[in-house]
């Protein structure tokens, strides 16, 4: 198992390098000149040259990337082009909100999607199955920002149970932290829950049709014990796969949900950095997001190995 994990950890490195290189060189294609950003159009060529030299943007792109990578490996993303603040400080300030939101959304996805999917799968073809499937289809089609606006307008404001905007760090108050992330997490996770419910339903219904399940039923095992010991374990691989994809999508969705609920996370940071053409910040956010996704994928790979020994062998 240790070798398996080590192999997967090592595989993360080229993935992150490829993701950051792709982002870096794509950003190079933009016409953004940090010297013009800082000095405007009226500066002299000499002044522009000084700024480019200071930032190192006068060097070949490959050299810039290698230099950036060597610093990024030490979590040094340089300084923002627009703000007098190290990029890492900005990222660090935003991480708690993004991680909280992602965690909350994953919980929503699992806590809603999994039970509904199992309930639907074991009753495949029933009225309950149809209702759950139709509800899941609607849930999957609901954009996160729209769900967020509805939750803010019809839950947060009338009831006052949850804040309509803002984020409270867990170190400030655990209770307020939980209250501040519940609605954004639901908005962000509801679509994933619907997708997970549909996938779980299909996987459970499929396994239940397998001959060994029918045999187990015929020899007297209860459906509950079969479900727990055989069906869910065999259905787990596709469910975990969907969960992994959903986690990746959550990071993208948080960009919009953070705007709706005014949550100071990486999504809103990326949003403003893109509008401000602050490329070092954009690059840092992409890198952190790539790292988060690859870490999640690594965890899933490990989980695959735990669920299915054949994966470990390969």
């Amino acid at each position: 198992m240790l070798t398996f994990i080590l192999r997967r950890v090592l595989a993360v490195i080229p993935l992150v390098v490829i993701a950051t290189a792709a982002t870096f060189f794509m950003l190079q294609l933009s016409d953004v000149d940090p010297a013009v950003l800082r000095l405007g159009d009226s500066a002299t060529e000499e002044q522009y040259g000084e700024v480019r030299a200071e930032l190192g943007t006068d060097r070949p792109a490959v050299v810039q990337y290698v230099d950036w990578l060597s610093h990024a490996a030490r979590f040094d993303f340089g300084e923002s082009w627009k703000r007098p603040v190290p990029v890492m400080t900005m990222v660090h300030q935003r991480m708690p909100a993004t991680l909280s939101l992602t965690l909350g959304a994953v919980l929503v996805t699992i806590l809603i999607g999994l039970p509904l999917g199992i309930a639907s799968g074991v009753r495949a073809g029933s009225t309950a199955d149809s209702v759950i499937t139709a509800t899941a289809s609607i849930g999957q089609a609901m954009p996160a920002f729209w769900t967020g606006l509805l939750l803010a307008a019809y839950v947060a404001i009338p009831t006052g149970w949850f804040p309509a905007t803002g984020f409270v760090g867990p170190t400030a108050s655990v209770g307020d932290w939980a209250r501040s992330i519940i609605l954004p997490s639901i908005a962000l996770g509801i679509s994933g829950a619907a997708a997970l419910a549909r996938q779980t339903r299909a996987a459970v219904a499929g396994v239940l049709r397998q001959p060994y399940v029918r045999t187990a039923v015929s020899v007297g095992y209860s459906r509950r014990s079969i479900l727990g010991s055989d069906v869910l374990r065999n259905a787990a691989i596709p469910i975990v796969t969907v969960l992994g994809v959903q986690v990746s999508l959550l990071l993208g969705g948080s960009l919009i949900v953070e705007q709706v609920f005014v949550v100071p996370g990486l999504g809103s940071l990326a949003f403003s950095a893109i509008l401000e053409k602050d490329l070092p910040v954009v690059l840092a956010v992409v890198t952190v997001a790539a790292l988060l996704v690859t870490v999640v994928q690594l965890a899933l790979d490990v989980l695959y190995g735990a669920l299915d020994p054949r994966v470990r062998v390969r």
């Binding site: 009226s42 627009k82 300030q93 606006l149 947060a156 404001i157 804040p163 309509a164 709706v260 401000e276």
Partner: protein, 533 residues
């Protein structure tokens, strides 16, 4: 919902204030300063507050915290590099030589008096006991340093204000003589803004962008702030002045006005600044405080010589654009009828108002005819920036222009960044909104060939001829008349295509008292607000 405040121009589309980031200044339709007598101008330290001021009579120590939802992000805390739209971020940490009171009159501040007999040579006496946040006394040398620093900052958005200063000299420890290049009746008012904010000489060589060095009532809490999200300030215990109400201030960036309203109603913030009429109706039990004056929502044709977009260099094209805009439709659909659709730069009631340029000017046939005469019968296209709060009205105007074949491509930008982009020459035209500044200041900022917001150095000679005469006018009546003519000419030439006049508002939660939006400001004066209980 309770509504408080003067309405000079009716309800307004105040969410549009986000665009102040773009213009960084503008012209008031109020014109309060210009009616001052043009003789000896004095502000004295006798009434520190004027009638109508809501500052409590009994000065209690600052207490409590207040959170304000604002629409534009902080760019810099250096007053010599900040855009006027960023004033509320800096006003907490810097004191200026003068200040604008709640009545709109100029009052003493760091200068206990600022006087002039000829409007050219001004004498400032520094207030006793004034200190910077590090405890250093504010003296004449500090004022000289600060004004010289501003003059030397050539890229300053306040450069036109500093350019009028010929020399600054410390007469003694507490007296400064400021000699202007020409008489300026509004100099005391000019010193109430960013240009008049005094920077501590001890900060020489330091980057002030997140380490302000002022004499204001608050200090900036850099470590407690989150870039691009929330900026915190703590009241100084050794502040030299009085009247500060709260101990902690948090300015929270909430770009979307609906989210600001939600935050106010659900109790996350105490004040939601820059709300439009539609949002003002949603604040529940909160009080709506309106700004004292209306502002102009207009297309600023920056490239009026056609350097970047040749079509915009033709006055016929600019006039066609004006005729193509359905002002009443835009006002009804986007501002819920809360604005005043007009082509005029100054509102009726202003001393600069000229009826000859007032109207709605919607005539598509005339617009097409003018466009054809200019050789653009098939239309043309150009890019224009906007921010989220201005997006609806920009899209509506783009729809109007599309009727005659003009394609205005809208490019979304981060609020707070447009002023610099305009100055950098990134845009040929921009739909924006002004902010309470005097006609001479707007003129110097935007209309002259070397104005900082005229990056293409466009020549507007018919306007500048009148403007220079106005600057040299020897009587107030003559100056008013000439400014009225200059701005009317600018409108006729289509350098500014006015869409409507609008007024800003802020939602203030119950439990907060003393909130008032001062002349030229985006948000209520945070020095005077108090939190009950």
């Amino acid at each position: 919902m309770r509504v408080q405040g003067r309405r000079l121009a009716g309800l307004a589309f105040s969410a549009l204030l986000l665009s102040l980031a773009a213009c960084g200044g503008g012209s008031s339709s109020d014109g309060a300063t210009e009616t001052e007598p043009r003789s000896t101008v004095t502000i004295s330290d006798s009434p520190m507050v004027t009638a109508g001021d809501t500052t409590p009579a009994t000065v209690a120590p600052p207490s409590g915290s207040i959170t304000v939802g604002v629409a534009t992000d902080l760019q810099t805390l250096d007053p010599h590099l900040a855009q006027p739209a960023q004033l509320h971020y800096l006003d907490l940490v810097y004191d200026a030589l003068t200040k604008v009171g709640t009545s709109g009159a100029v009052e003493p501040n760091l200068a206990s008096s600022l006087t002039s007999d000829d409007l050219t040579t001004w004498t400032a006496t520094i207030a006793d006991g004034a200190t910077f946040s590090d405890g250093t006394p504010v003296d004449a040398a500090a004022v000289v340093y600060s004004l010289d620093r501003g003059k030397a900052t050539t890229e300053s958005p306040s450069a036109p204000l500093f350019a009028q200063i010929d020399s600054v000299e410390a007469t003694d420890d507490s007296t400064v003589t400021i000699v202007l290049t020409a008489p300026n009746v509004a100099f005391a008012r000019d010193m109430a803004g960013l240009a008049g904010m005094i920077v501590n000489p001890a900060s020489e060589g330091s980057d002030l962008s997140r380490a302000p060095a002022g004499a204001g009532p608050f200090t900036f809490d850099a470590s407690g702030s989150v870039e691009g999200s929330e900026y915190k300030y703590d009241a100084r215990t050794d502040y030299w002045g009085t009247g500060v109400g709260v101990e902690h201030v948090s300015l929270q960036l909430i770009i979307d006005p609906s989210a600001r309203v939600n935050a106010l109603v659900s109790g996350q913030i105490d004040i939601a600044a820059e709300l439009g009429p539609a949002d003002q109706t949603k604040v529940g039990d909160a009080e709506v405080v309106l700004a004292p004056t209306s502002e102009q929502l207009y297309i600023q044709v920056i490239d009026s010589d056609g350097s970047k977009v040749p079509a915009l260099g033709d006055p016929l094209v600019r006039q066609a654009m004006s005729y193509a805009i359905d002002r009443e439709g835009v006002n009804k659909a986007i501002m819920l009828g809360g604005g005043i659709p007009t082509t005029a730069w100054f509102a009726e009631g202003s001393p600069y108002y000229l009826a000859e340029v007032d109207g709605v000017g919607y005539d598509l046939d005339r617009a097409r005819e003018l466009l054809a005469d200019a050789g653009y019968a098939d239309g043309f296209e150009f890019d224009t920036p906007t921010v989220e709060a201005l997006r609806p009205v920009t899209e509506a105007v783009a729809g109007s222009l599309a009727q005659i074949g003009i394609k205005m491509n809208i490019k979304m930008q981060q609020p707070g960044t447009l002023g610099q982009q305009v100055r950098d020459g990134q845009w040929a035209a921009s739909l924006t909104i002004t902010r309470g500044q005097t006609p001479p200041v707007f003129y110097s900022e935007r209309l002259t060939a070397d104005a900082p917001f005229n990056p293409f150095n466009a020549q507007r000679t018919t306007v500048t001829d009148l403007g220079e005469q106005a600057l040299a006018a020897t009587t107030e009546a003559e100056a008013v008349s000439l400014w009225a003519q200059a701005y009317a000419e600018a409108v006729k030439q289509g350098y500014m295509i006015v869409v409507a006049h609008v007024t800003t508002g802020a939602g203030v939660a119950s439990g907060v008292s003393g909130a008032q939006v001062l002349f030229g400001s985006l948000i209520p004066d945070l020095r005077s607000v108090r939190v009950d209980g």
